[in-house]
């Protein structure tokens, strides 16, 4: 069996009376391109925040690369890269300054940081605005920079919270190319996205969370088989998603209800 990159056991997070994430058991094998799906407010970002150390779980266990997160937080943070919700950029630095800062924070020496920054900025097509503050970048440019910062230290696991949100087709192409290359080199990628077509095209495995509970997990084939009872059917990920999440009445609303819009 391949190495497990991400493993959670009964991972739970409560905010007062609200249980945002309810005892989820996730298992992501090393080298997998893993999509984590769910409707708005399902608990995706909360889960990713817990897995990356931005939020403490209320209960349950998390292991990354076989190590307990709570006991090895600093060591594990060295091995992971994150594009968090809101991107977490220092907006009053330039792109190059930010990458230098991040590289050093991950313990890279100055020449390696410089070399990688240059390569990443060129790859992401951010070199034509060297003196521009991040605050003045477009949303898509900020996303590309956030991804560059997340990979500068060569992480073994990459967590991406909505990496394609607000990104144009060209930028999305650059992001996809980078992610594909990383997968080829053995990196595990854990991403959340609302763009099901992209997830379907990129991810080999998915998990679906709804109202804080894990309602489906496995390869696309396994999920298809789980719904129709037979393997090899042609259900799209969108159909799988609606079929699983829609069971509790959250299916697509009837457009006739908004007749005043037309």
């Amino acid at each position: 069996m391949s190495e497990i990159a991400v493993h959670t056991q009964e991972l739970t997070r409560k905010f007062g009376n609200l249980t945002a994430v309810d005892e989820i058991d996730l298992q992501v094998a090393a080298g997998q391109f893993f999509g984590f799906l769910g409707p708005n407010g399902a608990g995706k970002s909360t889960t990713i925040k817990m897995l990356t150390g931005l939020l403490a779980p209320t209960s349950g266990r998390m292991q990354l690369l076989g190590l307990d997160f709570a006991a090895n937080a600093v060591e594990l943070k060295r091995q992971i890269g994150v594009v968090p919700e809101g991107m977490g950029l220092f907006e009053r630095l330039t792109g190059a300054e930010y990458l230098q800062f991040v590289g050093q924070m991950y313990g890279l020496d100055r020449s390696t940081t410089r070399h990688r920054s240059e390569e990443l900025l060129e790859f992401m097509q951010l070199v034509d605005r060297p003196k521009t503050m991040i605050a003045d970048y477009s949303h898509g440019m900020q996303k590309k920079l956030a991804l560059a910062a997340a990979v500068i230290h060569g992480p073994r696991i990459l967590f991406l919270d909505e990496p394609f949100e607000g990104v144009d087709a060209l930028a999305a192409g650059a992001l996809k190319a980078l992610l594909t290359r990383m997968i080829e080199r053995g990196t595990t990628i854990f991403l959340t996205s609302h763009v099901l077509e992209i997830v379907e095209r990129l991810c080999s495995h998915v998990a679906i969370i709804n109202k804080g509970q894990l309602v489906g997990q496995g390869s696309l084939e396994e999920l298809r088989a789980g719904i129709s009872g037979e393997a090899g059917n042609k259900l799209t990920l969108e159909q799988i998603f609606f079929s699983i999440v829609g069971k509790d009445g959250t299916q697509r609303p009837q457009i006739e209800e908004l007749s005043w819009l037309m």
């Binding site: 939020l55 943070k77 060295r78 994150v82 009053r92 792109g95 230098q100 050093q104 924070m105």
Partner: protein
């Protein structure tokens, strides 16, 4: 279905909607855990400020009553000048206590320009300086009315006109300063000019002393021109009301209204630009496309090789942020210039203030304490400008002790530099103080700075509050952080004073230096011992921090 055209709400309705929105935002924010502490801080700060404001209300009431009763209306003019200078000057030197709400965000709604203008003006009245000044002006009217009830309506009318003038001017200055600070070139130019003016001010007193005989008549010749400024015009109009001289009253009120109209026109122009969607970012104009790979020449942290890489990275980032924050740069430049100013005004040529000799034993430590007091204040909310970047600290493989070490390193470097330069300048101007005093200042510096750092770091984690870059209006510090800063500085200041005087009482000039050295070592030990505890605290407080700073 047919397209239904809805009528836009009227001006009053729009203002009502925005007021309701403000109230709901305030009410909902009270429910937040972090806000509750903030509210306690605001209440306590409010009580202290309230005592100050109410005390002066009584003073203005009495002053106006006396002025009208005795028929000495020039006193009334002086009171109006005092309020005018406070109202316009306070927000510039102290980021106001105004509502922390970006009223320009309302532009997404179909607000008319007039509503936008009125709301913008109304926000000007929510600043601390505006509230205090309005209360003082009302006290002044009541005082005048108490002395002569017949003149109250006329005085009230004049005071309301004066309020309109002041609020418009304050908003105009604020919006222009924000515009200036938003762009690097204008910011640097402005800071340069400001520093130049402050330095020139240092030569004012010696120049006045030297040429006092020729300056005095010139100043007396210039004084009458002040009559044409709004505080004097209002004062004269009040005298007109009291003496039943309608011409004097009309000249005064029309004059102030003319000023208000002119300022309204200028402010309308500014707000119109904002209404049209003015961009105030660093690089508003499109940059020429130029393919250029950034080099590491600008890698500031490369010069901090003696520090661990993570600490150096944070220190480098702090220096860059400091350099790009106009308001912060200003707040760092002003204190040493003020020290020089005080030194040249009160110590060089006049070794005594109003006949009381000013000994170097008081003068030197006093000015150093002032510097530390001002420069340490931002450390009590040191994550204020991080914004969403705060997430980087929690995502990177660093312990929070490194974050504090980096931030504190920058602050201490600036403090050492500024205190060192100021001390050097003071010695140059006033001569060398006794060695025992120099030693006491140096060790006292270590004690007060190291002693404050641990508490300031704790305060930064416990009471974080986001502040916007380069903005001066609508910015409010965390109430509890302000109280922590005051409390700690009063405590350490008290201890330091006792130690300094202990040397005098015991006739042992080395005692203060020895005492401070001992306490300084203890404070340094305490500082390093606190770092691990603060790292744990940061972990447990990270949700509060992220919530407060990533909004």
């Amino acid at each position: 279905m047919a397209h239904v055209r809805t009528a836009l709400p009227g001006v009053l309705q729009q203002i009502q909607l925005v007021s309701r929105l403000r109230w709901r935002i305030l009410r909902n924010s009270l429910g937040r855990k972090n806000s509750r502490w903030d509210i306690i801080g605001v209440v306590l700060t409010g009580v202290i400020s309230g005592i100050f404001v109410l005390g002066l209300c009584f003073a203005f009431y009495s002053g106006a009553k006396y002025s009208v009763a005795k028929g000495q209306y020039e006193w009334m003019t002086l009171l109006l000048w005092a309020i005018f200078l406070f109202w316009q000057g306070f927000p510039i030197f102290v980021a106001g206590f105004g509502a922390n709400f970006e009223f320009k965000t309302l532009l997404r709604f179909p607000l008319s320009l007039s509503v936008f203008y009125i709301i913008g003006l109304a926000y000007g009245l929510s600043d601390f300086s505006a509230i205090a000044s309005v209360l003082w002006l009302l006290s002044l009217s009541i005082g005048a009315g108490a002395a002569s009830p017949g003149i109250f309506p006329g005085v009230l009318l004049l005071v309301l006109t004066f309020i309109l003038f002041n609020v418009t001017l304050e908003r105009l200055i604020g919006s222009w300063l924000e515009r200036i600070f938003a762009r690097r070139r204008t910011r640097e130019l402005f800071v340069g000019l400001f520093v130049l003016c402050m330095v020139c001010l240092n030569f004012l007193n010696p120049a006045i002393n030297k040429h006092s005989s020729s300056i005095r008549p010139l100043a007396l010749r210039l004084f009458p021109y002040l009559d044409w400024f709004p505080p004097s015009l209002t004062g004269r109009a009040i005298a007109g009301v009291a003496h039943l001289q309608p011409t004097q009253f009309l000249v005064g009120i029309v004059g102030v209204l003319a000023y208000a109209a002119l300022l309204t026109m200028l402010l309308w122009k500014r707000f119109s630009a904002q209404y049209r969607g003015e961009e105030l970012s660093e690089t508003a104009a499109p940059l020429p496309v130029k393919v250029e790979v950034p080099t590491a020449d600008s890698d500031l942290s490369g010069t901090l090789l003696f520090l661990p890489p993570q600490v150096a990275a944070i220190a480098g980032k702090e220096f860059r942020y400091l350099k790009r924050n106009g308001m912060m740069v200003l707040s760092l430049i002003v204190p040493p210039i003020m020290v020089l100013f005080l030194a040249t005004q009160f110590a060089a040529r006049r070794p005594a203030v109003q006949g009381i000799p000013l000994s170097s034993e008081l003068f030197f430590p006093g000015l150093m304490a002032y510097l530390i007091l001002i420069l340490m204040a931002p450390a009590y909310n040191s994550f204020a400008y991080e914004g969403r970047g705060i997430q980087s600290y929690f995502l990177a493989p660093v312990r929070f002790r490194d974050v504090f070490l980096g931030k504190n390193f920058v602050l201490v470097t600036i403090l050492v530099l500024e205190v060192g330069l100021s001390l050097g300048a003071l010695i140059f101007i006033n001569g060398l103080p006794p060695v025992t005093l120099l030693a006491a200042i140096a060790t006292g510096f270590i004690f007060t700075v190291a002693g404050q750092l641990s508490i300031a770091n704790w305060s930064s984690l416990k009471f974080p509050r986001k502040l916007e870059f380069g903005k001066m209006q609508g910015q409010r510090q965390s109430g509890m952080a302000v109280l922590m800063a005051f409390g700690t500085q009063i405590l350490l200041g008290g201890i330091s004073t006792v130690i300094l005087f202990a040397g005098k009482w015991t006739d042992n000039p080395w005692l203060p230096a020895e005492g401070f050295a001992f306490l300084g070592l203890a404070a340094i030990g305490g500082y390093f011992a606190s770092l691990d505890g603060l790292s744990h605290m940061a972990e447990s407080k990270k949700e509060t921090l992220l919530e407060a700073l990533c909004r």
